[in-house]
């Protein structure tokens, strides 16, 4: 892995192996996310994408290898330890707390924070970014449309004031038009300086906005390159994008 401009990676996986019982899911996975970049992890079904996210966030314990945050090994630390230090996830399919109001969802995003002023400030920032969300604050989040739910899910993640946002399949379950808006939103958040690690099946779309990417196949990283080169890579086009 290249050390970009000699900077230290924000979040890193070194030789990670993860098992679910006897099943070997991740096999010697190495990843590095640098501050402020937008990277994506591509892979088909059951390639281990979601497990990678869960391992990064400490929700699944790796059987060997290290998860490193700011140079500190954080294996075995609780999820809250990582969330507090700026690692936040937007779960697959948005997964809002459906019976809670939009405001409650946003507040829960800031669960680990105690700075009331900062939280209010970030709420305003979220309202600026998603004016629709502000209109719906006291509505139960389960009654929102898919696009609005996506906004709340993003807003909820931003309320943790993340340095790196882990996004699990942001395009899943959304209408094509919404996928486009959604990727614009991701770019917007990225431009504010938040590093984004995106797990996707929609390779074309993801690579069109990402800086770098990895391709995961049955738990092993098979390709690791810049987005442009990956898009041009005939192997990827053949096996993954279904062309050729």
């Amino acid at each position: 892995m290249t050390d970009q401009n000699g900077a230290q990676p924000l979040l890193e996986m070194r030789g990670i192996n993860t098992h679910y019982g006897a099943v070997h899911i991740l096999k010697d996975v190495d990843l590095a996310i640098y501050p402020g970049e937008l990277v994506c992890l591509l892979g088909g079904n059951a390639s281990g994408k979601s497990t990678t996210l869960k391992t990064l966030l400490g929700m699944v314990e790796p059987s060997s290898g290290e998860v490193v945050l700011d140079g500190e090994v954080v294996n075995g630390k609780p999820t809250s330890y990582l969330v507090e230090r700026g690692v936040t996830m937007v779960p697959e399919n948005r997964r809002l707390f459906k019976r809670l109001s939009v405001l409650e969802n946003l507040e829960l995003g800031a669960y680990l924070r105690n700075d009331r002023d900062g939280i209010d400030e970030d709420l305003e920032r979220v309202y600026d970014m998603f004016p629709r969300v502000k209109e719906r604050l006291n509505q139960k989040s389960g009654t929102l449309s898919g696009g609005e739910q996506q906004m709340v899910a993003m807003g909820r993640a931003l309320m943790a004031r993340p340095r790196v946002l882990l996004m699990d399949e942001p395009s899943m379950g959304l209408a094509p038009a919404l996928v486009q808006t959604n990727f614009e939103l991701i770019q917007q958040i990225h431009q504010e300086g938040v590093a984004i690690f995106m797990v996707e099946q929609n390779a074309n779309m993801a690579l069109s906005i990402a800086d770098r990417g990895w391709v995961l196949q049955t738990g092993r990283v098979v390709l690791d390159d810049t987005a442009d080169k990956l898009l041009a890579n005939p192997d990827l086009r053949a096996s993954y994008l279904g062309e050729g």
Binding site: L57, M59, P78, T79, S80, V83, E84, M89, P91, R95, F97, K98, R99, L100, S101, E104, E107, L108, G109, Y111, L112, N138, Q139, K140, T143, S145, R156, A160
Partner: protein, 626 residues
Amino acid sequence: MSDTAMSAPADLAPARAPLDQDWRKVVNYGLVLGLALVFISLTGMPDGLNSRVIVEPWLSMGYLSLMWLPFAIGFAVTHEQVLEGMVQHKRGARELFAGAVVGLIGGLCLSLLVYLLDTRDLSDPLVNWNQPLLDFLTRDGSVGEGVLLWVGVSTALGLFGGLMRIVPALGSRLVRAVILTVVGAAAMEALIDDLSEGVWKLEGVVEWLYHPREGLEPAGAIALAIAAAFVVLWLGRQLKKGGAVYNLAREAQPLAVNAVSVVAVAAAAILLPIFLGRLTNDLLVNVGLFVLLALGLNIVVGLAGILDLGYVAFYAVGGYSVAILTSPTSPGISPTLPFWLAIFIVVGMATLAGLFIGAPVIRMRGDYLAIVTLGFGEIIRLTVRSDWASGLTGGAQGMLSIPGPDLNIGGWTLPLVGWTMPKLEVDLMGTNPQHILYVVMFFVAIAIYVSWRLENSRIGRAWMAVREDESVAEAMGINTVTAKLQAFVVGAILASFAGAVFAAKVGSIFESSFKILVSIVILVIVIVGGMGRIAGVVAGAFVLVGILGGPNQPGLMAEFSEYKLLIYGALLVWMMLKRPEGLIPNVRRSRELHQEEFLQDAWLRGEVDRDEAGSEATTDEGWAPA
């Protein structure tokens, strides 16, 4: 409110002919009615409740248990879906006809039962297939009289149910108020009797209202009906005005008004037990104990979403801890502490029990968790009964002579200041329900305060997040194991308070008081009342334990005790179908609904600017199904 508002467009819609019916629906409802009437008759409930007279000598609770059905189903069959406030047709003869036909079909079914009761003997599988049931259904007359009676009564009541759709809203409110008042007054005869023997010397009035044996005098019933009508016509409007004034004041000065309300409720709570008779106090104590239990379970199930079916375990822990610590005759350790000192140790014991049961259980989810808690509930009871623990708990013999919760503090001197605290001694007898009611209210107040604070706190929000989606909650940085354990322990402590008071009240303790049924009843209270809502849980306890009775405690309707579980079950099914949010639903949700109603009414009456209300009503939330 909505009924009056709909009358405007309804006048424009054409009426439909009486025979222009959805016959399939009418026949279905009629058969359901018939089946229900036959089923209820065969449970033995009507005959069993026949001894409870409502209006001497015409009407008993037994007949009422059948007669409400044609009325209710006649009303239900004429229900029309009102789409977007537009009534499809003018109501009239068609509704009456549908109600009458449904009633007729139901009456024919019951008549068939009367005929079969007379001619066939099916008493082998059906235990209630007997002469008393036949006598009850025919009012000791011939079969023909019985058939005529039920066909006539059922048809008339079905027609009456349909009539409720036609009369203006005020009319149906009047009917409802009159029925509820007369039946309520008869059902609460013992309670009212008890009250009149208290401070207010109302025996004369009560004697005039009620028959010497039981039930209302016909004249008394008529007087009550007139009083109810008066209340609806005049007092209802006054109350509405008062409510509006209260709401306005509350908006202007929320803190002051809330403080006044709290003081008023507290004053009422302190004064009330003095004026109530022994029976009422005892009833309220039982209700209070279940309020306490249900509030605790509400935290576990309603807020944190942990379906605990073995909640009775913590009730038992509280009861047995107090018994061991305070009773002079407890077999093992017997420190004979005063109740209020023991309470602190009880809190510790409950915490330990909560952690001990919670730790293994909490890692499971959904059905598995429910089954394991069910097991633990029984394990605690069986342990208490076992030979192994009987040295400490008395086993099946239980423990006796548990003293009351006497309050005995003060008399200490602060060493440096030299100030002696005045001695405070209050003898609270366990056998005196009035004393115990104060103790119960003290703990209920604590429970309500704790529930209310927790609900709006950081930890309350964490519980709700865990309830909604555990893995996402974890991803938000919530420690889900800790959060769930906290909920378990808080619930355990509240239940142990109830157990402690129960032990001090009864003065003895046996493992049979802590059977699985108690867990179920508490859960039903929480569900029927409205999960996650404090007011709902309190209302649920009053309705279920106060009126129908708890698992071992008689309620107002002591006659119901045999059919209590049948009614619990029916109520639970009905609630799940028609009102899943509970008796007192989510405040926020109901506010949304009321706002909608208000806007629609205002729009129909043309009272507000059409454009403004129109645009408001067409936002997508406005069309959510009510």
